[in-house]
Symmetry: C2
Subunit: 186 residues, 2 copies
């Protein structure tokens, strides 16, 4: 991909639950697969799974490992190619540090959310990525979305995804796919 | 939604497995949720789950029912609103018949696939839907994609989704989200 290096971080803490409490959300198997496959399709450089829960980190690593070595890797090499992008990190700061160590610093943080107050448009940000060499880290929240402290730390906030009506409750898997397509689709 | 009525059919038979054998694929819980939520977001009129396997029909109906009545409906009304669009049918012909009985006939079949030989472009088809009143049924294949007999019966074939590289192995959930966004996104 020409332009700015781009990574995704799927945040499991701090995110909100349905009652707007800050929680650690659980790893979802298909979040790993779907977003890894979309990342590979649209030329994303890294995909970070961020969770402070050690047993959840182990679960994510087990899923990734299953398709990286032995029978899983042979059975489905396309999944292997996608999951090669995935790295598990304890905190967002760890993901930023890892991305900076390989692609340069400082990384710009790009937040997404169904109720986000946008600082740019998709076409504006698409152009910005093409003309930039600054690494950008695209943040997706699980559960009921990214905590305010993450939104406040973002350098860029993308607009919410909308259809013709008021309902915009997409899964994080669908939202990530659509946003990557808007930024990098043919 | 102005323009043509539009429904989705998620086909579990006839589809290919990894060895290009025609099979009945299994229902995936998140296929129901993710595509229902994207359908509700982008103004789709109906979402058909097509499988000839009776125990799989029961499984799909159990998942839908869980969020339609009692605790599930109260716990998450957004899921209820999405899953209200979903109907389980034994065959594609049954789905077509149901859609026609409510929205008029004949329905046009619109196929999708990672290796599809397109008969239109996304922008061309988007314009066509806006200026038409003919019901269109968008077909998505599970497993390794729609069987040739379904591709051959389609009136319209949409282009494969592509990023900057050769890899285009999106999940059906991601593909459906992106295609609905391309056709109906803001």
């Amino acid at each position: 991909m020409n332009g700015a290096p781009l990574a995704i971080a799927l945040i499991h803490y701090p995110v909100y639950d349905r009652n707007h409490r800050t929680v650690v959300s659980a790893i979802t198997n298909l979040d790993l697969h779907d977003i890894a496959r979309a990342s590979r399709t649209f030329g994303v450089d890294r995909y970070y799974i961020v969770t402070p829960a050690v047993e959840q980190q182990r679960l994510a690593e087990k899923i990734i490992g299953h398709w990286q070595v032995g029978y899983g890797a042979t059975y489905n090499p396309k999944r292997k190619a996608a999951l090669e992008l995935v790295t598990v990190k304890e905190t967002l700061a760890d993901a930023v540090h890892d991305f900076e160590s390989e692609f340069g610093d400082p990384v710009k943080l790009v937040a997404t959310g169904a109720g986000a107050a946008a600082t740019t448009t998709f076409s504006g940000f698409r152009d910005e990525l093409r003309s930039s060499v600054t690494p950008h880290l695209l943040l997706f929240g699980t559960g009921w979305g990214l905590a305010d402290e993450i939104m406040a730390a973002a350098d860029v906030i993308l607009p919410p995804l909308k259809g013709p009506g008021a309902y915009n409750h997409l899964s994080v898997r669908s939202a990530a796919a659509i946003i990557l397509d808007r930024l990098f689709g043919e």
